[in-house]
Subunit: 141 residues, 3 copies
């Protein structure tokens, strides 16, 4: 009924990336779950997980531009500046967008809407490989 493992994503450029397929390929165990939940938790404070539109790539590039304006770098009142201009805004973005997801599983597949996909928000300029804890629970067939 419970399954848990850590998975590591291929490093991504700064921006928003659809990772639904990459995550599912690392979690073949999910196919056995009839009713359940997949919990994804990213073990970093400068990246985010969210669910949004999976078709038009300009949605993801508009996300990057919008959040860079909403949460600007190099504000004069910032004190946590030693790790670079992109670091503190990345922390804010991570808490605003969230660093975990719970997704329903139905009959061995994620029960997302037709236009939904999982976004990794990579908020550092050079974030490297990101590690997630994936926890699957539910009723198995």
């Amino acid at each position: 009924m419970w399954f848990q493992k850590e998975i590591t994503l291929i490093p991504k450029a700064r921006g928003f990336h659809l990772i639904t397929r990459e995550v599912l390929e690392l979690l073949p165990e999910l196919k056995r779950v009839e009713i359940g939940l997949l919990h994804l938790f990213i073990k970093h404070t400068s990246a985010s997980l969210s669910v949004n539109e999976n078709a038009d790539p300009t949605v993801r590039s508009d996300f990057e531009r919008f959040f860079n304006r909403l949460i600007p770098e190099d504000q004069p009142y910032y004190e946590h500046t030693l790790e670079g201009s992109d670091d503190l805004p990345a922390h804010f973005k991570s808490s605003i967008l969230g660093n975990s997801l719970s997704l329903p599983i139905s009959n061995g597949v994620l029960n997302l809407g037709a236009w939904q996909g999982v976004y990794l928000g990579e908020h550092r300029n050079h974030g490297g490989a990101r590690t997630l804890v994936a926890t699957i629970q539910g009723e198995y067939d």
Copy 2:
């Protein structure tokens, strides 16, 4: 121990709406759970689920006004514009506010604070009927 079904909400106008009662009426199965969690997942990328104040309706209208200012329509740098002025901001609002909730169940009822209710954020001008996946898990009596 596991129960899952899709529920469809009555269409709502753009804005924030208290849906606690509507959701609970669609989920009578929840009353049998002694200790557990209700997971709600909205299968759309232009609406949101959150928990906030359940008493004064001006909180909900202030939410609508505030988020419309924080996330404006028709910015010159937006590229995803073919689906209307309200579409891209609706995607941003959905990811900022979130598209799922996990709520504690205690003795057959949602264990919310006295002033808490579930908000549907309808971020499109004409969003239509929204579908949620409701997953209940826990210990039954």
Copy 3:
């Protein structure tokens, strides 16, 4: 497999506070879980729970300054004003940052990244003692 209790935190000043240790000391039951999830739900609409950087205290003070600018008090269009200047912005902050967390448990400890901690965002000037519903589920040893 299921454990649930309400815990009450020591009152905090307005701002962001690391509460990982305080929460874990109130939940010794977590040590028995091999694989599982801790769900924390704050029963208030003017405080938030999130996960962020656990080392440099200026990250937390920069959070407070940033979110006060993003979500200002006393805007002329606010209508829900009877509970004080800090009240309505606290509601917005709670929904933007979130009022619950699901955290993975592995071998009796929270499986967070090395630099991650749990933040309580206290968004009222005098918020008092905050109550959380803690729900632990998983496989016990």
